[in-house]
Symmetry: C2
């Protein structure tokens, strides 16, 4: 019986080490390469076309797991991709699925579920844990939490404006600095509040800080 070759992309070195140790206990699994961000993961896949599965974290610096997945799919690689991540929000899940992952398992899962996912996916099936499926279902029914992940579902311009809002600039000041009409900035602010599902500026700032959009020590 052929063993399953694994690539891992996660910025938590400790987690990668732990996962490798965990997987080395399984006879039929073999970790052949690792990467610490999405960009490296894309390169890693090109370097190891013989690998069976790439395990990606959603939240990573440089290039997140979803962008990496999209890039790999765009390259035409048939590499199987399993998202193994902290993010259990429906937004992350749906975007991951749309990007083309073959499975989605949350880090709170037990290792048995995880190994099950690897074997299923290696066999050509898909695998989504119960928790993930539930999150997707409940998101259809009502208010879901879109965020909490590393990457916000907002455009670059919106991100820029959000960062300035979190740095205490008023609408008018942002408009001046970006050479925009205050109306435009207001529109962006409005869209941000809507997209991120918050009520006001306070909510925007909280998300901006929590997701690391503004650094503790800015400018």
């Amino acid at each position: 019986m052929k063993s399953i070759n694994i690539l891992i992309a996660d910025d938590h070195q400790m987690f990668v080490d732990g996962l490798t140790a965990l997987l080395s206990d399984a006879e039929d699994v073999n970790v052949i390469g690792t990467a610490a961000n999405g960009a490296d993961a894309v390169a890693l896949v090109q370097l190891h076309p013989e690998a069976d599965i790439l395990i990606v974290d959603i939240s990573m610096p440089v290039m997140d797991g979803i962008s990496a997945t999209r890039a790999i799919r765009k390259d035409g690689s048939g590499m199987k991709i399993l998202a193994l991540t902290q993010n259990a929000d429906s937004g992350s899940i749906t975007r991951a699925v749309k990007a083309g992952v073959d499975g989605y398992v949350i880090k709170t899962s037990k290792k048995e579920d995880f190994l099950e996912a690897i074997r299923r996916i290696a066999a050509g099936e898909q695998y989504f844990s119960e928790h993930v499926k539930n999150a997707l279902i409940s998101s259809l029914g009502g208010r879901d939490e879109k965020i909490l992940g590393g990457e916000l579902p907002i455009s670059p311009r919106e991100k820029e404006i959000l960062a300035m809002i979190a740095q205490e600039f008023t609408t008018n000041e942002i408009a001046e600095r970006l050479f925009l009409s205050p109306y435009t900035v207001e529109t962006h602010r409005k869209n941000l509040i809507h997209k991120l599902g918050v009520r006001n500026t306070a909510g925007l700032v909280r998300i901006a800080v929590q997701t690391g959009l503004v650094d503790s020590r800015d400018e």
Copy 2:
């Protein structure tokens, strides 16, 4: 040579499994118990007073790692505690140190650093990774004296109101919930802005989140 007995508290079961596998490779380390949240961790420590080190994650449901640390210290236990977490912001670090952890290592670290931390702490020393020390130093150097040290120079009532502001409550809502006049809440808000040296709500929320007054988790 006596082996080091470890307890682990982390809500990511996968991470716990990986860590256990990783530690089982080291001859002198032995995982004797695990917990999935802070409350369980406190109980676990009482159940295993013979353990040498408790490894805690900062972000956990039910009771976070910092509260758990405080609770364990309050119980008079001399248990050594190592924070092993994703959070690299100075607010989390200072709060953890104040709560009484013996070490702080980030999940992006290499396993060698981690094992080094375990051995140092077991030997009665403290261990803080370079990254952590740098974060602390820059937090001390960068800002004005008012905010450093994690503790805000504000009264309990102000802290309470600041937390609510950061949770997107409006002045009127806060007044209702605290049985106060909106005028009073406005006065507090005014004083907060002045005391913390910011311009508006955005600044208040930024500080509230960065100092950990509002948890990244829940709601």
